[in-house]
């Protein structure tokens, strides 16, 4: 490493980032609406409302807070896991439905899976967010959850909430997937223990999955 300046930029970051984050803190709140364009909110905390598993939550967060972190650190909804935090592993997978989807289950694109680590919490407002925590009805497991238990589609269990949600989204759209379709639908989730065999069996055997 002959040219020190080139190699590692940590010091440069201190110069820019350290000062920058303090300076920007001044530009908070609603500042410039009207002809100038839409208002900017933040970077300080702003009020948001999230509907998760049918329940409304009002909270204050900085715009930079992801949906995953808002759920886990502010609302104690810890089913979705933080593993890679970059949209590569799927442990944070949630299903998000467009507004009023429950009422018009036959219309619209229906619930889709999202990496909650790679979505800002404030962008998840106005929709119903479903996590693994809301699937079971009391002590009665959702058919997908039951299938994961029956086929041992879990070991340490840390990837399980994400795999369960991806499987639910798949089966709500396509109740009888081929193995190929099931594999592809689960390609956005990673398991390190190697439970994939049980997971696939669960996805192919879970029956009675309906929207909602």
């Amino acid at each position: 490493m002959s040219d020190k300046k080139d190699d590692v930029s940590r010091r440069d970051f201190f110069k820019t980032v350290g000062v920058g984050s303090i300076a920007t803190a001044v530009v908070s709140g609603v500042t410039d609406a009207g002809a100038q364009g839409p208002a900017a909110i933040g970077p300080d905390e702003v009020p948001i409302t999230l509907t998760i598993n049918g329940q409304r939550h009002q909270l204050r967060i900085e715009p930079r807070v992801t949906l995953l972190d808002a759920m886990r650190t502010r609302l104690d909804i810890t089913g979705p896991k933080r593993v890679c935090d970059r949209g590569a592993c799927g442990a944070c997978t949630v299903i998000i439905e467009p507004p009023n989807d429950a009422k018009n289950a036959s219309s619209g694109p229906g619930g889709r899976t999202y990496y909650s680590c790679s979505m800002l919490a404030l962008e998840a407002q106005g929709k119903n967010i479903r996590t693994v925590d809301g699937l079971a009805k009391g002590n009665t497991l959702h058919p997908v959850q039951q299938a994961f238990c029956d086929h041992d589609g879990l070991m340490c269990g840390f990837c399980t909430p994400g795999f369960v949600m991806s499987t639910v989204a798949l089966l709500e759209k396509n109740p009888n997937p081929s193995p190929e379709q099931a594999r592809r639908a689960l390609d956005g989730n990673l398991c390190r223990c190697g439970t994939n065999i049980g997971v696939l069996k669960a996805a192919l055997s879970a029956k009675g999955v309906t929207r909602g």
Partner: protein, 723 residues
């Protein structure tokens, strides 16, 4: 520097000693059947709370300050701005000017703040000045004669020469020899739950919720590291998101978390992020082997001579067993540990064995081709004698049947077109014995049964098989048994490494439940008007002198005082030493170099099978980790700075659902041997079987894993293949 816990393969007798106090039942009701994981419902609903999920009143968040350099000397550090940053409650600097760091990610300080965002912001306000020193980024750089001396006393450490037989005579008897160099890569554990904990002080007492494979070992580690009595520490790990050998103590992050919590006066959560996890929490060392081996004209191995080396990072070892399994009557081997500027290795799923297996098994296929023998027949000819812990000669034909080995063509698929198909095989062994677990059992007057043991379930289904043994012993259903584990306040149990947990804990379950049963009988016998030895357990009932009582009614006789007994591991209920074989079927696209693993067949034993369902899952898991090792995963360091270029889950390739082969597992029950661990054995042989299948498909030998497309294409080109 991180700790270097190397879990040794436990040596134990292959057969249990005779006459245990509570032998396994002749005929079992639950053992060996398919029972679903008892904590499955908690895990599939998100109700299972892992250390990462623990939230305590007033809890704040910790972050660690790390070196961005592989090798550097600290010139100065200024945390004065960070200390006053919004939300910061505690800050520690653990390095001083003049100190050196030896790997990227080495810990140099930590802070805690009210929110995670504030902690991260503040961390970036700490100004650090370094004198960057030349790093050693790989073994070649470290082994150069002109390499700068980075490590003390030297960059390499040469081990003793291991020698047996007469090497010269062995090579004299060889009709053919193979000389080649093999290598395996560094892989990181990549546990999905990262390392870390929540620490909470109550006066001088620390409670720590830690993602660990060893609650008792971690308690000891906290006490030592913080210089407080072990009695003041409680470690809790109710659920744990994978460790694979990398989580045996509090580590630096745990001690820093405890110190931050003490300084801040509130609980602190400190969980590492994915990049930190790759850099600083362990890895499997690389392995290199320059081998010369000889075989006689009739296919008997005659000689093995190897120089080996590898790196376990900054000052850590890299040895592995070699040659593996097969009988080389004359052999010599010397190993050199090579140190580089990267995070230290830790035990990882069957430490050493996948490396030794890969080198030996690929060599075996090359030798078999020299003598023009079928590779499986060649193996059968050179195996150690059949024994309970050495069953390969029986298992190879079983696996061959299931993979349709007779359809195998000789090396190089003659079929036209770019897709070449091939088959390969290999063998594995492991210890899997365990000792020392203790437990406490209570039976209440309502019939409830609570078993407490300071072991932990790291995803292996330990909790489930504990319940199975207790239920079997007491004549109950699994759902009637409450298992409490993952707490250092429970009776001692060893850490979960080396596949030792089942063999350590199941005997303790059998003995403790047996003692509880006897104590129950002792207590109720007078009321039943029989002697205790006339009472027997049924199914959900007990019977004595022709009368049958429900379990509940029997327990009601206890009154207020429950049965409360302690028990521990006893000899005779578990053993060590497993054997297994694996076969792989692959398809290789020789125009792209891409390998698709189609199928793995696994024949494996683990002594007495407690739960067939979860034992099979262990095999699936081990095999999938072997697929990753063979084809996908690799820690890649920039050769000029020694910084890891793929510290994520994107370029650190791991198989996704579409990359998973069909897997056919045959678990061989050996009830007479008692319980043996199964976590690691199935992870050993997969990579070698795949490499041999790729060789069989493509006609070229891939001696270096992971077998990425570039390697396949390069070897094909070198061999004059038609690309």
């Amino acid at each position: 520097m991180g700790s270097t816990t190397q879990v040794p393969e436990v040596q134990a007798p292959a057969k249990p000693a005779q006459h245990p106090t509570y032998p396994w039942p002749e005929k079992s009701r639950l053992l060996g059947t398919r029972i679903s994981r008892i904590d499955g419902p908690q895990k599939v609903t998100g109700r299972a709370k892992y250390s990462y999920d623990v939230s305590r009143p007033n809890m704040i968040y910790g972050r660690i300050l790390r070196s961005p350099h592989a090798h550097a000397r600290l010139k100065g550090i200024d945390a004065s701005v960070a200390e006053k940053a919004p939300g910061v409650k505690a800050l520690l600097i653990t390095i001083k000017p003049g100190d050196k760091v030896l790997y990227p990610g080495e810990e140099i300080g930590a802070l805690a703040a009210t929110t995670e965002q504030q902690a991260e912001d503040a961390l970036r306000m700490i100004k650090v000045e370094w004198e960057v020193l030349p790093p050693l980024a790989n073994v070649e750089q470290s082994m150069r004669p002109e390499a700068p001396q980075v490590f003390t006393p030297a960059n390499t450490r040469r081990g003793q020469v291991q020698q047996d037989g007469n090497l010269d005579a062995g090579f004299k008897n060889a009709a053919f020899t193979v000389e080649a160099t093999y290598s395996t890569q560094v892989q990181t554990h990549t546990s999905l739950e990262t390392h870390g904990c929540v620490c909470e002080w109550n006066g001088d007492n620390l409670t720590a919720w830690v993602s660990t494979q060893a609650v008792h070992g971690t308690r000891e580690g906290f006490a030592q590291g913080l210089k407080i009595p072990q009695a003041n520490v409680r470690v809790i790990t109710e659920f744990m998101g994978g460790g694979f050998g990398s989580k045996f103590g509090p580590d630096i992050q745990g001690l820093l978390c405890a110190r931050l919590a003490k300084a801040a006066g509130v609980p602190v959560k400190l969980m590492l992020d994915r990049k930190e996890e790759h850099l600083a929490t362990g890895n499997r060392p690389s392995a290199f082997a320059k081998v010369k081996a000889g075989v006689s004209a009739d296919g008997k191995l005659t000689a093995f001579d190897a120089q080996t080396w590898g790196t376990g990072g900054a000052g850590a070892g890299s040895d592995y067993p070699l040659p593996y399994i097969y009988v080389f009557p004359n052999r010599r081997r010397s190993h050199t540990d090579v140190y580089i500027n990267s995070g230290q290795q830790r035990a990882m799923r069957a430490p050493g064995h996948p490396q030794g297996c890969f080198v030996t098994e690929v060599l075996m296929d090359e030798l078999a081709d020299q003598v023009r023998m079928d590779p499986m027949e060649f193996r059968l000819k050179n195996l150690p004698p059949l024994a309970p812990n050495a069953m390969w000669a029986k298992y190879f034909p079983m696996g061959a049947e299931r993979i349709n080995w007779k359809s195998r063509h000789v090396t190089g698929d003659p079929a036209p077109g770019p897709i070449k198909r091939g088959l390969g095989c290999s063998a594995n062994r492991w210890g899997g014995a365990g000792t020392g677990a203790r437990a406490h059992c209570e039976i209440g007057s309502d019939g409830s049964v609570v078993m407490r043991c300071g072991t932990q379930d790291i995803g292996t289904a330990n909790r489930t098989i504990m319940a199975i043994v207790v239920a079997e012993t007491l004549g109950l259903e699994v759902s009637q048994v409450t298992i409490e584990l993952g707490d250092s306040n429970h009776p001692f149990a060893p850490g979960s490494g080396g596949s030792t947990t089942a063999a350590a804990v199941m005997p303790a379950m059998r003995v403790t439940a047996g003692k509880a049963r006897d104590a129950l009988f002792e207590r109720i016998a007078p009321q039943l008007g029989v002697s205790p030895d006339q009472i027997q357990v049924g199914v959900g009932s007990i019977s004595a002198g022709g009368k049958t009582l429900s379990w509940r009614d029997a327990c009601r006789m206890l009154g207020t005082v429950p049965v409360s007994v302690d028990g521990q591991w006893e000899r005779g209920l578990s053993a060590g030493g497993t054997s297994g074989v694996q076969f792989a079927e692959v398809e290789v696209d020789i125009e792209t170099g891409i390998t698709k693993v189609k199928k793995i067949v696994c024949v494996q034993d683990c002594g007495l099978i407690v739960d067939l369902k979860t034992a099979e899952t262990q095999c699936y898991g081990g095999i999938i980790s072997g697929v990753n090792y063979a084809v996908f995963e690799e820690r890649i360091l920039d050769r000029n700075t020694a910084n890891m270029v793929n510290p994520n889950m994107e370029w650190y390739h791991m198989a996704g659902q579409s990359d998973i082969p069909d897997i056919d597992v045959v678990l061989v029950d050996q009830p007479e041997r008692g319980v043996i661990g199964i976590g690691e054995p199935p992870a050993v042989a997969t990579a070698a079987a795949i490499a041999n299948a790729i060789r069989n498909a493509t006609g070229v030998t891939l001696r270096h894993i992971p077998i990425t497309p570039d390697k396949v294409l390069m070897e094909r080109e070198r061999a004059g293949g038609t690309n």
